[in-house]
Amino acid sequence: MFIGALGVLGAYVLTFLGGSVAAPWLLAAGATLMLTGVGLLGAGAKAPRLSAAVIIACLSTFIGFACALWLTPPTTDGPLLFGLPLATAVMLLYVGAVPLILLPIAYAWAFPREVGTE
């Protein structure tokens, strides 16, 4: 989480210094690293299923951001996927759909053993 926070701060500093192609990469990596840290702390040390779900969801989020940063910027006649520009659809799949479906199911599955309610 600390490294993630430094990454976010680094992205902002680079932007202050006039911007760099590295800044969005640093912000994407820093933000997802921070969220991984927060999620792992929330899951606790004795929650392997929840921890695995958090890592997969955050990794998926970073892959989504990376695809959007990597793929060719949209053009006026670019290909569509699910009715959206390709890069947007891929990004939404990884950043939106994967965590949206995975995390609530993993939480419900792991709940009785891995979430303390007392």
Binding site: A5, G42, G78
Partner: protein
């Protein structure tokens, strides 16, 4: 916003909606007898009402008016405000849910600053958290009461000042009488209304443009970046939104406070799934209307909007049957009122419960209930006055409120409750840093003393700074804590 309205449908459905809120308020007021009833609904809320109420309180009028307008003006950059919900719907339960629920039951906690005070064994940390909540609430209340006034004006055709006081009075009536118990049950009604209205409008939005693919092709032909992955503002702005709304959502006190109210902790198991479905439905309008209106304007079927906030009203009045449009206006009022109710409740709790505790004073339960009702009235009047008198400042206050909660409460609450290494000194330092930096930098930016480069926001910068302050100060003072233990 000067738009024609189908007055008969709006008036009838609007009046029915406000009447339903009043009836629920009277019912709840009769059942509110203790401080725990007033502030945490007697810890008696079932899973379904809990999930719907959490959704209703999370979404303010911004989801229905400001959000679609923002999508219309900056494209999918605005999507990054709601996209973090894919993670944060579950993160709320994972990080805060079970812990807050268990602490609340075991130690009879009723507020978020209570949890901070208990976690760090520090009255100062509790007091500072209460101050941060109170300062943030002033901004949030002003913004939301003004938005409510605009909706009441559209529903009943009265002047804006009259509409502001009318909206505030109805919200106040059930908030002061029934406290959060009334709020929860009105939220359930309001949340269901918001989800239904949003889903219906989304279908009409897709139909108006002959489906998503046709809408995309129309927009792509004139502006390929609009529906590109980062929207028109680019990757830094979009990712900055994502960071602020993903991490910041864990520090919103009106949501965290609700975990105390769940009757059975074991039911938390299904909460992320339910709240995810509810949020998904309620936010369809956010993207659907903004994108559809853009396509309609590009095709020349709708005149360009005077201001982005006109996107939803203009679309509703031109492309949606008037009864559905009236339902959506009631849904917008619902979104705003549920948020206002939550803020009135936690604001009154900060004044009557947290600040006296921070100064080492105890107030007996009966007096806390009476004072809670009294301060709910005072805060409501203050919100209406801010809405009426603050002019352009009101939009600034809304942004300021979210940022202040995020920067002051995420480290001490969301990270502090889960991290063993967190210390009292870290909590006090991070809350103080959040208060000073947010107040100073937001005010200086509003007064144009400086301008941040594109992609950097005061909230983003302050949030990452307070988290680093919390971690570093806790690490530096952790040895002393260990020695004492």
């Amino acid at each position: 916003m000067n738009v024609p309205v189908p007055s008969a449908s709006l008036f009838v459905i609007g009046a029915a909606y406000f009447l339903a809120c009043a009836v629920i308020g009277v019912w709840a007021a009769k059942r509110t007898r203790t401080v725990e009833d007033f502030y945490v609904a007697g810890r008696s809320v079932g899973l379904l009402p809990f999930a719907i109420a959490a959704m209703a309180s999370t979404l303010s009028g911004f989801a229905f008016i400001g959000g679609p307008g923002l999508v219309y003006s900056i494209g999918l950059t605005a999507l990054f405000i709601i996209l973090p919900a894919a993670l944060t719907n579950t993160y709320g339960a994972l990080v805060l849910g079970a812990r807050m629920r268990a602490l609340g039951e075991r130690h009879r906690l009723v507020t978020v600053p209570d949890a901070i005070g208990l976690r760090y064994d520090s009255r100062l940390a509790q007091g500072l958290a209460a101050v941060a909540i109170l300062v943030g609430i002033v901004g949030y209340l002003g913004t939301n009461v003004l938005a409510l006034g605009l909706i009441v004006r559209a529903l009943f055709g009265v002047s804006l000042p009259m509409a502001i006081w009318l909206g505030a009075a109805v919200t106040l009536a059930y908030s002061a009488g029934g406290g959060i118990l009334a709020g929860i049950w009105v939220d359930v009604f309001q949340g269901a209304l918001m989800a239904v209205a949003s889903t219906m409008v989304f279908v009409f939005a897709l139909e108006s443009g002959n489906g998503l693919a046709a809408i995309t092709q129309v927009i792509q032909a004139v502006d390929p970046t609009f529906l590109g992955p980062w929207g028109t503002r680019g990757a830094m702005v979009a990712l900055s939104f994502f960071f602020v709304f993903a991490v910041g959502s864990l520090g919103q006190p009106h949501i965290a406070h609700k975990y105390y109210m769940l009757r059975d902790a074991k039911r938390l198991r299904w909460y992320p799934m339910l709240v995810t479905i509810a949020m998904l439905l309620a936010q369809l309008l956010f993207v659907g209307v903004g994108v559809a209106v853009k396509a309609l304007v590009v095709r020349g079927e709708m005149p360009a909007l005077g201001t982005p906030d006109e996107a939803t009203p203009a679309f509703l009045l031109a492309y949606v049957p008037s009864a559905v449009a009236a339902l959506v206006f009631a849904g917008v009022a619902a979104a705003i009122m549920s948020t206002v109710n939550s803020f009135l409740n936690i604001g009154a709790a900060a004044i009557t419960h947290d600040l006296p505790k921070a100064f080492g004073r105890t107030v007996d339960a009966a007096r806390q209930l009476t004072r809670g009702r009294g301060w709910t009235i005072v805060l409501s009047v203050a919100g209406a006055l801010v809405a009426q008198l603050s002019g352009t400042l009101v939009a600034f206050l809304g942004i300021f409120g979210y940022g202040l909660f995020a920067c002051t409460l995420v480290p001490a609450l969301a990270i502090g409750l889960t991290w063993d290494g967190a210390t009292k000194q870290g909590a006090i330092a991070s809350i103080s840093t959040g208060l000073v930096l947010t107040l100073g930098l937001e005010s200086a930016a509003f007064l144009k003393f400086f301008a941040l480069p594109t992609g950097v926001t005061v909230t983003g910068l302050t949030l990452v700074t307070t988290i680093l302050v919390f971690i570093v100060v806790s690490a530096l003072t952790n040895g002393e804590r260990q020695r004492k233990v």
